[in-house]
């Protein structure tokens, strides 16, 4: 006969259990397949378009790699929003929280378990994309760029910041779709637009995580900040590139702060 008093489980074990069942969720739902299809399509296009237009690949492997990795950050945003958007909101929206929260499970374990599952799912997708890039570099240029590994590390850090922000939206909003879309548009449109506007004023938007995320291409094919001036015109066009270690710290701060906020808010959020 079971004895409720004797059952003991530490937080890590609970996080591991939640992670396992969240991964099962990602495997059984269409979102994983949607992300994989998008990844496959973009990957194919990266090779098919130059071939179709009879346009040769760049001479330098680093230039090609930087171009290929332009999509990596978008993939991070898509997979982050897809895997994390409904993580918390769905428990309230679909009322599954009535069952889950009335068990002796710390909400912090639930959030972290879901975070780890979303991280594993999204990083596998991003990792797959990088793997294709590394194989392509070998195939086209017969070279291995160690910078690709560093770039992947930055992509993973950016993924953490994306997941943190998406978890925060998922905690604040009541609907999964709303949280997913808000995360996607914030990271894909709003922050880049803000970044552009700030750049136009001659200031570097170093504090925006999407700006910092450009480190994924910057480490492969480094560029210098430039100011384009036009003789006889007061117009100046500024081009900034993220720098080490500021970008790394910015992404880390986004990740820690948003996830911590999410943990605090989930604990306080009522299941009415």
């Amino acid at each position: 006969m079971p004895n409720a008093e004797n059952t003991k489980l530490n937080d890590l074990e609970q996080i591991a259990i939640v992670t396992r069942y969240e991964l099962l969720k990602h495997l059984r739902r269409r979102r994983l397949y949607a992300v994989l299809i998008i990844t496959a399509l973009v990957t194919v296009l990266q090779f098919a378009v130059p071939l179709a237009l009879n346009s040769p690949f760049p001479q330098e492997a680093k230039s090609w790699a930087a171009g290929f990795l332009e999509f990596a950050n978008l993939l991070v945003i898509i997979s982050g929003a897809f895997f994390a958007g409904d993580a918390i909101a769905s428990e309230y929206e679909h009322k599954t929280g009535f069952i889950v929260f009335s068990n002796p499970l710390k909400r912090f374990s639930l959030v972290l378990g879901k975070f780890v599952a979303a991280f594993i799912s999204a990083s596998l997708t991003v990792g797959l994309y990088y793997l294709v890039g590394i194989i392509a570099l070998q195939g086209i240029y017969s070279t291995f760029l160690s910078e690709m590994i560093v770039s992947f590390a930055y992509a993973i850090l950016f993924l953490c910041s994306v997941l943190g922000l998406t978890f925060l939206f998922s905690t604040i909003l009541k609907g999964s779709m709303g949280a997913t879309l808000l995360a996607f548009f914030t990271l894909f449109m709003i922050m880049p637009i803000v970044s552009q506007v700030i750049t136009l004023t001659g200031n570097e938007p170093w504090y925006l995580s999407t700006y910092a995320s450009a480190m994924t291409t910057q480490v492969v094919n480094p560029q210098q900040d430039t100011v384009m001036e036009f003789p006889g015109s007061p117009l100046k066009i500024y081009v900034f590139y993220p720098k080490f270690p500021v970008s790394l710290i910015v992404m880390l701060v986004y990740f820690v702060v948003t996830l911590a906020l999410s943990l605090v808010l989930v604990k306080r959020k009522e299941m009415t």
Binding site: N3, E5, I17, V18, Y21, K25, I99, P104, M271
Partner: protein
């Protein structure tokens, strides 16, 4: 020691007062029905006990553990079913129960055995490998019951456990509740179904507009409210003159007759009931097949108290 305690529980949703200084103590091993109309505060109380919401003021305890501050310890001893249960649609009952059992730290073999047993109890064994997304409301309700008894908890908190079930399902749930009570477990049962409560609970807490109107054993309430009813099943229809005789009997207050049934409301003790039945058979010549306490008694108390409260 009390299993469940509510001390001055008050809950506001914005400006709406949902619970108004609720005090309640449920001793171990008792089955308490928690009755009240819609919006009375039943679900709010249960949600506070299950740490789904926080009280605006007051405290709730389960086995001496603060339900808000020590929720993990408090909920270890509880099997809860709150509102209409919803589960992850992409999982099967087997997987959901495994998940919840593992979260509770149940050992593998014990969990396997318990899953088999509870699925049998709620008659879902046949669908144990079917995705819950395909389940009807009643089937989800059964699974909700199953997860609440999976770890064989000493305290059960059920919010409308028979909601959405067909008559057979309702009967089965009542049997599960009765069996649970027989095992000496504490049951706190919020329900609209007075028959369900009268059949399964020993005490009743009646709440309206967030306030506790009464909390006592059912038989005490019947005495206090002087409402005692019996249903008599007749072999042959009763003649009008006999009905008139019954109405005039000492202690009889109400009489409702159909072709083969009598519902007699009266004031008095068990001895008075015995005397009444004897009179019916011996003096009036009622050909009685059977008799039983009417389930309308609790309904009468309920309606009277809620009406007074309003």
């Amino acid at each position: 020691m009390a299993a469940i305690v509510a001390e001055g529980l008050t809950k506001y949703y914005g400006k709406l007062l949902a619970l108004d200084n609720l005090n309640l103590k449920i001793e171990k091993g008792h089955c308490v029905g928690f009755l009240g109309p819609n919006g009375a505060g039943k679900s709010t109380t249960i949600k506070i006990l299950c740490n789904l919401i926080r009280p605006t003021s007051g405290k709730a305890y389960i086995n001496n553990h603060d339900a808000t501050k020590e929720s993990t310890s408090a909920l270890k001893n509880v099997g809860a079913l709150v509102e209409t249960p919803e589960f992850y649609n992409y999982l099967t009952p087997l997987e959901v129960l495994e998940y919840l059992g593992k979260l509770r730290g149940m050992p593998k073999n014990e969990l396997k055995h318990q899953i088999h047993q509870v699925l049998e109890t709620v008659r879902l064994s046949e669908w144990k490998k079917t995705k819950i997304g395909k389940f009807s409301r009643g089937m989800k309700q059964r699974l909700g019951i199953a997860q609440s008894i999976l770890h064989d908890p000493p305290i059960l908190i059920w919010d409308e456990p028979a909601l959405g079930l067909d008559p057979r399902g309702m009967f089965e749930i009542r049997e599960i509740i009765k069996a649970t009570v027989k095992k000496g477990k504490t049951v706190f049962l919020a329900s609209h179904m007075l028959h369900e409560v009268q059949e399964t609970c020993d005490s009743v807490a009646l709440i309206d507009k967030g306030k506790l109107l009464t909390y006592d054993r059912i038989e005490n309430l019947e005495k206090v409210f002087k409402i005692r009813k019996i249903d008599v099943e007749l072999l042959t229809p009763i003649e009008p003159k006999c009905l008139s005789k019954i109405e005039k009997l000492k202690n009889v207050r109400t009489l409702l007759a159909t072709e083969k049934n009598l519902t007699i409301g009266f004031e008095g003790s068990d001895a008075d009931q015995a005397e009444l039945l004897e009179t019916l058979v011996k003096d009036i010549g009622v050909r009685m097949i059977s008799f039983k306490p009417s389930l309308e008694a609790l309904e009468g108390i309920y309606l009277q108290l809620v009406k007074e409260g309003n």
